[in-house]
Subunit: 265 residues, 6 copies
Amino acid sequence: MKLLVINPNISDEVTALIEAEARRSAAPGTELLIRTAGRGVEYIETRLESLIAAGAVAEIIAEHHGEVDGIVVAAFGDPGLPALKELADVPVLGITEAALCAAALQGRQFSIIAISDRITAWYRDCVEHFGFSSRLASIRSINQALRGIGTVQQDFKATLLELARTAVDQDGADAVILAGAPLAGLARELKDQIPVPVVDGIGAGIRLAEAVVGLDGGSHRVGSFAAPPAKRRAGLSPALEGCLDGLQDAAHRTGPAALAAGGAR
Amino acid sequence: MKLLVINPNISDEVTALIEAEARRSAAPGTELLIRTAGRGVEYIETRLESLIAAGAVAEIIAEHHGEVDGIVVAAFGDPGLPALKELADVPVLGITEAALCAAALQGRQFSIIAISDRITAWYRDCVEHFGFSSRLASIRSINQALRGIGTVQQDFKATLLELARTAVDQDGADAVILAGAPLAGLARELKDQIPVPVVDGIGAGIRLAEAVVGLDGGSHRVGSFAAPPAKRRAGLSPALEGCLDGLQDAAHRTGPAALAAGGAR
Amino acid sequence: MKLLVINPNISDEVTALIEAEARRSAAPGTELLIRTAGRGVEYIETRLESLIAAGAVAEIIAEHHGEVDGIVVAAFGDPGLPALKELADVPVLGITEAALCAAALQGRQFSIIAISDRITAWYRDCVEHFGFSSRLASIRSINQALRGIGTVQQDFKATLLELARTAVDQDGADAVILAGAPLAGLARELKDQIPVPVVDGIGAGIRLAEAVVGLDGGSHRVGSFAAPPAKRRAGLSPALEGCLDGLQDAAHRTGPAALAAGGAR
Amino acid sequence: MKLLVINPNISDEVTALIEAEARRSAAPGTELLIRTAGRGVEYIETRLESLIAAGAVAEIIAEHHGEVDGIVVAAFGDPGLPALKELADVPVLGITEAALCAAALQGRQFSIIAISDRITAWYRDCVEHFGFSSRLASIRSINQALRGIGTVQQDFKATLLELARTAVDQDGADAVILAGAPLAGLARELKDQIPVPVVDGIGAGIRLAEAVVGLDGGSHRVGSFAAPPAKRRAGLSPALEGCLDGLQDAAHRTGPAALAAGGAR
Amino acid sequence: MKLLVINPNISDEVTALIEAEARRSAAPGTELLIRTAGRGVEYIETRLESLIAAGAVAEIIAEHHGEVDGIVVAAFGDPGLPALKELADVPVLGITEAALCAAALQGRQFSIIAISDRITAWYRDCVEHFGFSSRLASIRSINQALRGIGTVQQDFKATLLELARTAVDQDGADAVILAGAPLAGLARELKDQIPVPVVDGIGAGIRLAEAVVGLDGGSHRVGSFAAPPAKRRAGLSPALEGCLDGLQDAAHRTGPAALAAGGAR
Amino acid sequence: MKLLVINPNISDEVTALIEAEARRSAAPGTELLIRTAGRGVEYIETRLESLIAAGAVAEIIAEHHGEVDGIVVAAFGDPGLPALKELADVPVLGITEAALCAAALQGRQFSIIAISDRITAWYRDCVEHFGFSSRLASIRSINQALRGIGTVQQDFKATLLELARTAVDQDGADAVILAGAPLAGLARELKDQIPVPVVDGIGAGIRLAEAVVGLDGGSHRVGSFAAPPAKRRAGLSPALEGCLDGLQDAAHRTGPAALAAGGAR
């Protein structure tokens, strides 16, 4: 199984953190292709930054059309999701949705620990969009300026631990998500000091992607995540043009009409 | 008052429909600047197409930074909203959110009449995101291939009328939204034949933008719609770079610290 | 355009505040007819007081049947809404629903600043009824006895500002509504000191009423806001009798049967 | 125990049906005082008619201030509720809320069978307001003109039975509410032919009122259902004036201040 | 009327408290059969303990099949509900659902006062399952070790009173539920010191069971609470086997087929 | 990794189906221990049958305390969940929650295909409890008598395929869950004929259990899924007694007090 793991942030330091945890988490047979967004911001904290990142992630998905078995969008907040699920005929998972599932499977209420106050509104939107507002115990966040995005997890380790414990003690969290690619790998370090299951976003993204790809349940040939209908387009990158052409051709071959005529996937 | 009205679709025919209804709807003192997306698809039906359009709309907003008093994103489904509200220090409204408000102020339950089956999932997401799932009576849509996007409203007038009436009779709609820029202006034509208030998306967008701009309640200097925090960026267009720099400079001058020090907007 | 603006409270001082802000907010071509409730209480704080006021508002609407293009019920909490929408064939808006729309179009989460603790339960019902519970950041209120309803906004200006700022800082409000007719006009004064958009209930009521009336999308000839069916009545005021007769006659002429027979509005 | 049972409709025929079922349902020791609205309409189908009725019900409650141990508002849709709970220091129950509880205690999903299509929107509002939208299987209604409100249950017995059975078979109702005072007593007649528990609104209203009154848990001395605060009033009926005075005097004697000083109820 | 009242806890002291309050609450004509769980824990605080108790309660219900007119499961949290409603052809009520109804009929928002922190998550599940999350003001609980389950209400009377008052003052509770069988009877003692209606779980359970049994609306012959379909079973107790056989025989005689053939209950 | 997979039904045929699909789905390094409920019914369709099964599953979990790394409860509807998560210090997953996650990660709306009409109410409860009501497109079910539980998937293959396709075409499902252990393995056979991703409950259960166990985020040492507090117990099986003793001892060694004193897991 080959997974494309995309850092929607432009920071190579964060990519390195993602890669390290992804490799620790992946099953023996899983091959990882790690990519960094070609444009955007150092780290995403707002809805607009997420929108900008989504465009960059779309390009990378398009460039690798047909090359991989699954795709992980490796920024908490899931830039471009669920829209980007239309851009591939393989599963595309965000690490937020993966982490939310991992937490929900281990508890009733869960909390999210985040790297900045500003980031929390966007995270809250994601949880609500996923349908889990009633299961969110709290989002707690660092409210100090960061020294550098690559060192957040070390610079604020004590703060993050304290936030996690407070989420458990005061907010009733049955599980805690250490959110955001910059925190990749920290869960391994802190889990013995946090008295409920701790979820690492990257770890959850990789493992749940492996699970969903492994289920091999078929792709979206109709419905709201099938390839967009063919129509006049303008101004898109060659990669995106090529990917959309490829998806629309496949849809033509395997879609409802073909299905009715006895065609298979 | 000067409003920037953006067609997120690349179709000039649709822009013409938008412009005609926008001019009919605007108050005497309102100046309109109408723009068409520089890249994207002929008409948006899916979450991915909406995401692509959002990027194009962002460029146009950035290009006109500081020039207008309000912005209307003129495709039903509100591509890029609410993220794009961060990209301007003036109100940015989508025609969906405007139409939902106009409908909600005139009825308890409302229905949306849409130009294609595929488009409905995306619309449903928008309604849910806005918080109005419990007020949505139904989304009803044309389930035939379109002849051309600029003539949908004339080609399918009888079908659209029938869908609207069915929404009233069978789904209990107290108001009906004729959704999508390609239907701009049709409400004027059909309203006498539909026995509940009919909402035109473009008309609602223009009029509610005028109302909100007119309220003049101040901009987002803090919170989740304030300008994104300054940080390293890469690969963005000059327009976007300039706009973000401008917003962040203003935030520096008028934000919380300035506010505490007695600064004003 | 002619709007009937009704103060559901019996206080002339509050009517004066409403009138001043309504005139400041109205478009050049808008004519305003301002009326005060003929019976009820000095200012409404509870569900029962709102119910009593609703009856008084109904009388005023009935008295002006056929004279105006739109109606604004100018007490936060929207006494009698949505029921009173049945009593006119023109749009009837409450200032709460208008303010909620204005806030929702400018932010994701919003807070309401209220003049007394007792009033908050009723306001919360309104927000929930409108469908926006998930978007309400908080309701914050003055918890001191009022000196006089006409001077609340001046007597408690510093408190109200503090409540608004706290809603932004601690509750995550992206927009703030200064609720209640007694606060009419205060938003203009405080907006530079509150770092997110501020909504004045009266201003929102007038401007959104202008927008909805301007849309001119037709009236309720069927459905749950059409005129009540004709049936035996007793004990109603002549005004109410006359208004209901008028509405039912019109419904007979333009309703479903007439519509089917080719009749128009 | 003495219960005041109020028919918010002006129809004496409906009062007779209410009285008959109320007497059959009441416990041996329960004394019933039955009253009919002094103004309003023959039978309530709309939000506006309910608002008008609410005023009439308020007068009757006020007239009997201090005379009874509990009050039942005997029209489905609960005119004036929950506001009217402020107007008495004894429990005030609507038959809708009582029937919803009776149904919810006997099933997961329930349906409501109603006498007209027009009435359903108002009923739906009530269910939503109570918090039971997720438990409502359906509202099914007679869609023919009624011959007379006093004979609906006999004129449409077969139709009502069919609607109830369809709600069970097709909508998954675990319990069925025969809604509306005009159907009072019909549940006894049809229950053997409907294969899930059937709830009579009047029966539920009487029995749950007896239960709640019997619990004798104390009245609202603070909070959103306490007597409205004393303030200037105008134009109210002597009964309402007297009742409000009485409630406010009692609040003064037993409220928070008195409580702190050691006062008891 | 004969009610079976089951203590799902194994503690005889708690059974004594239940019995005392049940006898005080029951109507003159109500006969009570009080039983204690044959296996389980001293007092239930967790979802697992509730599940274990549910099995024990099922046995007792089965043993008394056909002997009673209604059943009250007398532990807050409603162990085994709603599943156990399938195990009898008479109403089966939990004291939580009964107390929630009693509170909802007396207020808009209510709070629950609980005997331990651990117990609150389970209670919250129950409220959510019933559909009343939006009406729950708070759950407040004793966070100290208990001296003995039979003396909690006396050992912590001051604490419980303080929690109830705080729920009213700070959380906006319009009614307060003193939750849990170990608190049975305490509401009578504290109600004069709590300024909103107080609900005793046992009192509510008995009185609402009397009300629902009294309604006599018929049993579940089809639908999701009818007797489980006959099929191969293994390892069940003789009581459970006998009860299921009895229910399935009755279903065969009175179910849909019999109904269609003219059979009656 | 060693997983305990429990069939809560007593049917060995169904266990064989579960085992076959579990072995096909499991990763190379995963060891499976397959067990069948010692008491209960042939196949679970109702809430009561699920409750009975939950007790039997608890016994099996207790018997294997300390022997495995994760547990899969292999009946759709998740008998005993989430309560049974308290009974182990390793992850306990139900196949419903696993399948819901797998579907939600592949679509926005999903449908469930079920083996009988009776079973749907219980499934709906599960989806609602998980928080995904807003994402459920439909539950569609076979409404014919089954010939035998072990052959359902072959006897009704065409019907099941038709139900799945209808869910896609008419209900808007983006993904389809073939629910229930008796359908284990069928997804592999039908996926090419269903034009959206298909989820096999057993496959999802095994793969998501592997993912969650692999995350190794620590166990519940505090909170609502920690071991129940030690207290007097009676009448439990030796296995359950031993398991609870074991969990409570561990909690004593590693819980909050131990944690504060520097203890680790």
